[in-house]
Amino acid sequence: MTKLVYFAWVRERVGKSDETVALPPGLVTVADLLAWQQTRGEEYAYAFEQSSVIRVALDRKHAPHDAPIAGAGEIAFFPPMTGG
């Protein structure tokens, strides 16, 4: 099982801050995972419609969209950061 966490407008669009899911086999990269998220219903389709702008962290480290997701226990999805 993998914990998925959401922040800012991604969290609001998905409608939850976290969930634990069994990822389907065949998802290799972050990009595969983002494409799968788009298929999970209306709120996910809305949250991930512009998947190229979504940032992803694997076990609390930034990961590019071509990074492999194997072994990650916690995967976070969020918009570009606006702190500082």
């Binding site: 966490v5 922040f7 800012a8 407008w9 962290a57 609390r60 480290k61 930034h62 976070a76 969020f78 918009p79 570009p80 950061m81 606006t82 702190g83 500082g84």
Partner: protein, 156 residues
């Protein structure tokens, strides 16, 4: 302190305000080798009078870890004698502090550059998101990331 030992590095994420003189004193207490301290504080603007507050959401755990990674890069790159980074979260009103970076070194250049680098990287890598609360009582939108911040970070 021998030159080979690791400089003190403080990273904190907190909702309460910070005390800049106290944080500066913590870096300089008992030391006579520091020649320059650069302090940068980022404040909440009222955006021309329309903003009631900023709400800062963060990713607990990753926020500390990511700022620590940025600090490690700064410590590896400049001969620093101390480095502090504090970032607030929660509801912050115009005029209040949001973020603090303090860099200490023997000579000014390293402290100026390290503080500038820390802020550029904090803005583009630390997992924080700002949302506006407006004076008319409505909740405004999420603040959009600026391309100029990415360009600033790419300078380094």
């Amino acid at each position: 302190m021998p030159a080979s030992s690791r400089p003190p590095c403080t990273i904190r994420i907190q909702s309460e305000p910070f005390d800049i003189p106290a944080e500066t004193a913590r870096l300089t207490a008992g030391r006579t080798d520091i020649g320059g301290i650069v302090t940068f504080a980022g404040l909440c603007r009222d955006e021309g009078g329309r903003l009631k507050a900023l709400e800062l959401e963060h990713y607990p755990g990753m926020a500390e870890e990511e700022i620590a990674r940025v600090a490690e890069s700064a410590l590896a790159r400049w001969p620093l004698m101390g480095l502090t980074a504090i970032h607030r979260h929660g509801l912050i009103k115009p005029g209040e502090d949001i973020v603090l970076v303090i860099a200490a070194s023997a000579h000014r250049r390293a402290a100026f550059e390290a503080a500038d680098f820390m802020m550029d990287y904090l803005k583009t890598r630390a997992p924080f998101w700002k949302r506006e609360h407006l004076l008319d009582g409505s909740t405004g939108g999420w603040v959009e990331a600026k391309a100029e911040d990415d360009a600033a970070a790419a300078r380094w």
